[in-house]
């Protein structure tokens, strides 16, 4: 239907060992369980889903921060899933991951200047004055004053730390950027500025984004397509407008029902999603959403539903989705 994908993920798995008190392995936590999707160049793919469903693990596994348990990640024609970080450094310079916790990605002992120079020192041969010029250019692009270069992370606010985190990965001019909740903790005004910045950088450098977010109103505004995850699986994927207009999977439906609407009925009075999320170390048989699904039937306990592309521009993994 379109050009060759820039990123193709096939049956990607990441299992973490689960240990008992004596550190013996007693099972596996399936943080990613056969995740497949493709990303077109220049596209913004939103990734949404319950907290703990594996979004950050997905980002980190694509980046090689975690080694995949199984599956393929095709990037620029090569499978990078099993490469160790040092083997794939050259490739992964073009694939960047922006951390969820801004505090965790900045070294508290380094000034902002040092933090921004570091990736350039590691990945490029630029000389100090060129690096400084690049750093200042990006700092201005993310809207921070140059006086901040001499400050330490604890001396700036949470939202400012986040902008530094963004500046840090943009200095490398990557082609695919995985943004892990890039606007959480930003006020609406700065958020608007940062989102506009993403869009203009995308245009300027032809970037492709994987946009992990809990903020569905933002996802709706800027993503071309959305993947909805639940417990290590993609349960629904498709064009943004279709997912929001006609969500097919019952989990997607409850997710959309839980968005607060200013001026409307309060979700805290009306919303309910039955039961606790099951433990990812002890998944239910069959469909992993069935323990909380209003439409679950006997079949759901027996058979794990596969993604069905039964709707134009939209696919869902549910036996009974219509």
């Amino acid at each position: 239907m379109s050009a060759a994908p820039i990123l193709e993920v096939r049956d990607l798995r990441k299992y973490f060992p689960v240990r008992n008190l004596w550190k013996r392995r007693i099972g596996w936590l399936r943080a990613l369980d056969d995740v497949s999707f493709t990303v077109q160049p220049g596209e913004i793919l939103g990734i949404v889903g319950e907290s703990g469903c594996g979004k950050s693990t997905l980002g980190k596994t694509l980046m090689g921060i975690h080694t995949a348990t199984a599956g393929e990640v095709m990037f620029q024609g090569q499978d990078i899933a099993r490469l160790r970080p040092h083997e794939s450094r050259g490739l992964r310079q073009h694939l960047q991951y922006c951390y969820q916790d801004p505090g965790a990605s900045l070294d508290p002992r380094w000034t902002i200047r040092a933090s921004l120079h570091e990736p350039l020192i590691v990945h490029t041969a630029l000389k100090e004055p060129e690096r400084e010029a690049r750093v200042r250019e990006i700092l201005a692009a993310v809207g921070l004053p140059e006086t901040h270069l001499d400050l330490y992370p604890h001396e700036i606010s949470g939202g400012q730390q986040r902008r530094v985190g963004l500046a840090r990965i943009l200095t490398l001019k990557p082609s695919v950027v995985i943004l892990d909740e890039p606007t959480s903790g930003l006020d609406v005004s700065v958020q608007a500025v940062i989102l506009k910045l993403f869009l203009s950088l995308q245009e300027q450098f032809g970037l492709t984004y994987l946009f992990v977010s809990h903020d569905l109103s933002v996802v709706r505004m800027i993503c071309d397509r959305v993947a909805v995850m639940y417990l290590g699986r993609v349960v629904e994927i498709g064009e943004t407008s279709r997912i929001f207009a006609t969500p097919r999977h019952p989990y997607t439906q409850s997710l959309l029902a839980a968005i607060p609407r200013i001026g409307g009925a309060r979700v805290t009075d009306t919303f309910s999603l039955e039961g606790e999320p099951p433990s990812p170390t002890n998944l239910p048989s069959g469909c992993r959403f069935r323990t909380r699904c209003p439409r679950a039937q006997a079949l759901c306990a027996q058979q794990d539903p596969a993604l069905r592309a039964d709707w134009p521009g939209q696919a869902a993994a549910c036996h009974f989705a219509e």
Partner: protein, 336 residues
């Protein structure tokens, strides 16, 4: 006022850095009643976390200075209370804190269970009862409370979670652990600094419900910092808006959304992302707090600003019942 649980009066805090002295809180007033859920909103860097930390007595000791003000809580001024008493009686007990950045709140070398058990040793509500159980009975009673609380914040399989190390849980799970730890000692006031930013909307709805329930049924007050105005709409009784270290408006939740009186509040509401208006920020930048604009700190970004706005900070004025605004040229009902 007499009925207040906590009253912050004329609080001034400054930070020293190489670049100079930043006046981060500039005469902040804020009072919260028992059982009230108060939203605290404002642009990044406006001093929300600093206000929380000043109340709790955990400003960075070398960089920050409290220049003036009072924080009245339980009949005493917390700013005068010696650190040992603050730590023993107030912090994590009567006033709980859910910090903004959960990554720094845990010690990476101990399991989560060890850290929570440690908290319960000192801050468990059982420690305050007349004849607390001791030894194993106490530990078991506390453990049962911990497990029940982890379930309440929607964490699956609490026993297994307690054996994990902080890096082994997701961002949202860490955030819910923080919330659970803050609530376990049964505080009277919870200061929640963006407690739901890392949570999906379904879990957010449950957490907001939990906070609302605590306020309604147990009369716990909540100071709820958030950038998510939708979440503020869900649970807040009143909302305080801060700009560059000054509170500019305080309004009941319906008034805040329907009849904002301060031009900054109006612009904040206008920057909510929506399909009709697209992405709209507030033009201009947050001022540097080292040499802030005189008078009303919003004046450089305000099209209504006049000479008086540069000359003096507007005094608090009543804009409706329980609705206070500090603006020389506040919006009329038609403009709101």
């Amino acid at each position: 006022m007499d009925g207040d649980l906590i009253a912050v009066q004329d609080l001034r805090v400054s930070f020293a850095s190489d670049a100079g002295i930043a006046r981060v809180l500039d005469g902040v007033q804020c009072a919260i009643r028992p059982g009230e859920i108060r939203g605290l909103v404002g642009e990044s860097g406006c001093g929300k976390t600093t206000l929380a930390r000043a109340i709790l007595g955990i400003l960075p000791p070398n960089a920050a200075r409290i220049d003036s003000g009072r924080v009245t809580f339980g009949g005493r001024n917390l700013l005068d209370l010696p650190e040992a008493r603050l730590a023993a009686e107030v912090r994590g007990r009567e006033i709980a804190y859910i910090p903004q950045d959960p990554s720094t709140a845990f010690n990476p070398v101990f399991t989560i269970g060890t850290q929570i058990a440690d908290l319960m040793r000192w801050k468990s509500p059982l420690a305050r009862t007349a004849n607390p159980p001791t030894g194993r009975a106490r530990r078991e009673a506390d453990h049962a409370r911990v497990v029940a609380m982890l379930r309440q914040v929607q964490l699956p399989n609490p026993e297994a979670l307690l054996r994990k190390y902080p890096h082994e849980v997701s961002g949202g799970q860490r955030q819910r652990l923080m919330i659970a730890m803050a609530l376990l000692p049964e505080p009277k006031l919870v200061i929640a600094d963006e407690p739901t930013t890392a949570l999906d909307v379904t879990v957010q709805a449950q957490i907001l419900k939990l906070l609302k329930g605590l306020a309604r049924e147990h009369n716990v007050a909540v100071l709820f910092t958030t950038h998510d105005l939708g979440a503020a709409y869900e649970i807040c009784d009143r909302i305080t808006v801060m700009y560059a270290g000054q509170e500019v408006e305080e309004a009941p939740v319906a008034e805040f959304f329907n009849r904002p009186s301060h031009p900054y509040t109006r612009k904040l509401l206008d920057s909510l992302p929506s399909a009709e208006t697209g992405l709209r920020g507030i033009p201009g930048e947050i001022p540097r707090l080292i040499d802030p604009p005189p008078g009303c700190r919003f004046n450089p970004r305000c099209e209504r600003a006049s000479a008086v706005c540069l000359a003096q900070r507007p005094p608090p004025e009543q804009a409706g019942p329980g609705h206070v605004v500090r603006c020389h040229h506040r919006l009329t009902d038609a403009e709101a």
